[in-house]
Symmetry: C2
Subunit: 366 residues, 2 copies
């Protein structure tokens, strides 16, 4: 059960509708599928997304980092030696999603090797998660329609409202969505798009609307602004793009910048995500499992991690992004019923099953 080989396959699938947010937009999934083989023929799979505006990684940089730096550093190590593997990869700075994909593939391989479902290998708290859906930018009316349609079709009743471009319009969108969904769990994400004073204005304008938390309302780099904002707010400020490592999470909490944390498999894999989760559990800091433009493959990682741990499965997790993508490498479609996503009882590893025909069609290296 030692690491023998890693294959890196870039692929591209268009979004149905391009995804818009405060710092950019995405037209295509541009990921690298990795296949990690062990000496006894077990294969773990995962993928690394290229997200230049968050991690600075391209498909090319991911492939180079894995083939030239990371794989040679961990070749021949046992897949279960996750701490040693993390340590051996530590000399490479950055390259978050490349490292996380290796860690995710290793955990998939562990599950397959043991013929166990990963969520049970990790902690087995639950076998399902409550699903949250992200409502992308649009007119306030269309955003409310989006949410109602998701509730109608999937029973989803938790929504992230994307904000951060025009705070006056954002207030209208929040108000409109709450009007249409009086009992839903709502929170917003401004991706650092507001100034601190604007975030404070939004908070006071919508405080009767019972939003659960604000994610990255103002730039985390504006420490004084965030402190001013946090002093005003009764609900947590959640750190996402400012909290992409264990060290980041620790610093942002202690500096009083964030009081809740978004955990994403795509950047911290299983090993570092578990450390972040435990740090937050120890500090009574809430967390939720977020989405990084996930396909069904990434969604399966979030599902298995989130379901495994008590402190992670308490909040709705963002598991719907794959619905926005025109197609998917995963052969069996994931199901959302009555607002929940369940892990099938016969699931092994992360439950990933690649459709080889689709992979051949979407891969960019042939």
């Amino acid at each position: 059960m030692n690491i023998a080989r890693i294959e890196t396959i870039p692929y591209k699938i268009p979004y149905i509708t391009p995804l818009a947010f405060a710092t950019g937009r995405i037209d295509n999934v541009e990921n690298v599928l990795i296949r990690l083989w062990t000496t006894d023929g077990v294969m773990g799979e995962a993928e690394a997304p290229s997200r230049p505006y968050i991690y600075g990684e391209s498909q090319q940089s991911i492939i180079t980092a894995i083939n030239e730096w990371l794989f040679p550093s961990i070749k021949d190590l046992r897949i279960f030696d996750k701490e040693k593997i993390a340590q051996k990869m530590a000399w490479v700075v950055g390259n978050y999603t490349a490292k996380a994909a290796i860690d995710l593939a290793i955990h998939d391989a562990m599950g397959k090797y043991l013929q166990m479902s990963c969520h049970q290998l990790f902690g087995g708290m639950s076998n399902q998660l409550t699903v949250s859906h992200m409502i992308g930018y649009d007119s306030p009316e269309k955003m409310a329609e989006q949410a109602l349609a998701m509730r109608q079709q999937y029973g989803i009743n938790s929504f992230k409202v994307k904000t951060g471009k025009d705070y006056r319009k954002d207030i209208k969108a929040c108000t409109e969505i709450r009007k249409c969904l009086p009992d839903a769990t709502l929170y917003l994400d401004a991706n650092h798009g507001w100034r601190a004073d604007q975030a404070i204005s939004v908070y006071h304008a919508i405080r009767e609307l019972d939003f659960a938390f604000f994610e990255e309302p103002s730039p985390a780099a504006d420490r004084i602004g965030r402190h001013r904002l946090n002093k005003e707010m009764a609900i947590p400020v959640c750190g996402d793009e400012s909290c992409i490592s264990l060290a980041d999470v620790s610093r942002e909490i202690f500096d009083g910048i964030s009081s809740m944390i978004c955990i994403k498999m795509a950047r911290t894999g299983i090993t570092e995500s578990t450390k972040i989760l435990h740090l937050c559990e120890g500090l009574s800091v809430p967390v939720y499992v977020g989405n990084q433009g996930d396909t069904q493959i990434g969604t399966l990682n979030s599902l298995h991690f989130g379901a495994a741990f008590k402190h992670a499965c308490e909040k709705p997790a963002e598991l719907t992004n794959f619905l926005e993508i025109r197609d998917d490498l995963q052969a069996d479609a994931l199901e959302i019923k009555e607002g929940k996503m369940r892990i099938p009882t016969d699931s092994i590893g992360m439950g990933i099953h690649i459709d080889e025909h689709k992979l051949n069609y979407y891969r960019q290296d042939r």
Copy 2:
């Protein structure tokens, strides 16, 4: 792989020489061996020590808690669902070593079920630990002799100096030991035996002796005294008996009472110890793996946990207590060579092998 049955066996083995420390003395190991069977016949083993002056638990209370409260709460759960198991046991307050023994036995069972060594299942950072030895109370000269003999016989070069009864005598003991062992790693443990002002006096008297840290020098309950002490000290103050849960660790660090943490398998098992370790790693708080009057069984738990994680294996671990006990249930004797204890390459689970003849001889329930 579901929990089917737990057997609780009280047993007693005398110490070669009674163990003396600031708050009491121990003449005998009085533990409860637990055997946890799964539905498919796998058996995980561990033990709970009775330590009234730290946890308030007796052999009887341990047996009652397991048989009447804890086992009925977790019967039929899968052994891998450790988060769910911890949650189901949470309604029982206290009973630290009873709960920890179940968690340890479950992890032993996981390893046996998977035919894997636990240290590799947990993280696989290393397959060995540097060993530290605790020097019990005696005259300064005899304490130095103890240390020299351990170095001679086992190559050990890290020592905990037990202090906390008479601070003037303690200063002499520290001075004598450092004179005999100029290059050893030395630290001391006063078990809350000094007042804060005495601890400050000791610190200044021995600051040239290069001690690594002070463990529980003054009562943790004297918060103001500890703050005064911490202000004076350049080296960490380590929390042990004040840090027996994840919540304790978090509080003691944030209140500025302790700046280093002793992790003990006997009280927090694998699941909660891992959370404590990750909390501390995230906060850059050093930890070491301590001993709770461990037999070879408890020592194996410490060895597998400590070796698995980078942040745990960096410091010497206390793995010699079993040398002070007249006999042991473990069939294969653990070896310390050149100051290290290694996990054999063919180890499965926690590597526990009970000698059934000895168990029959030492058990107290027949």
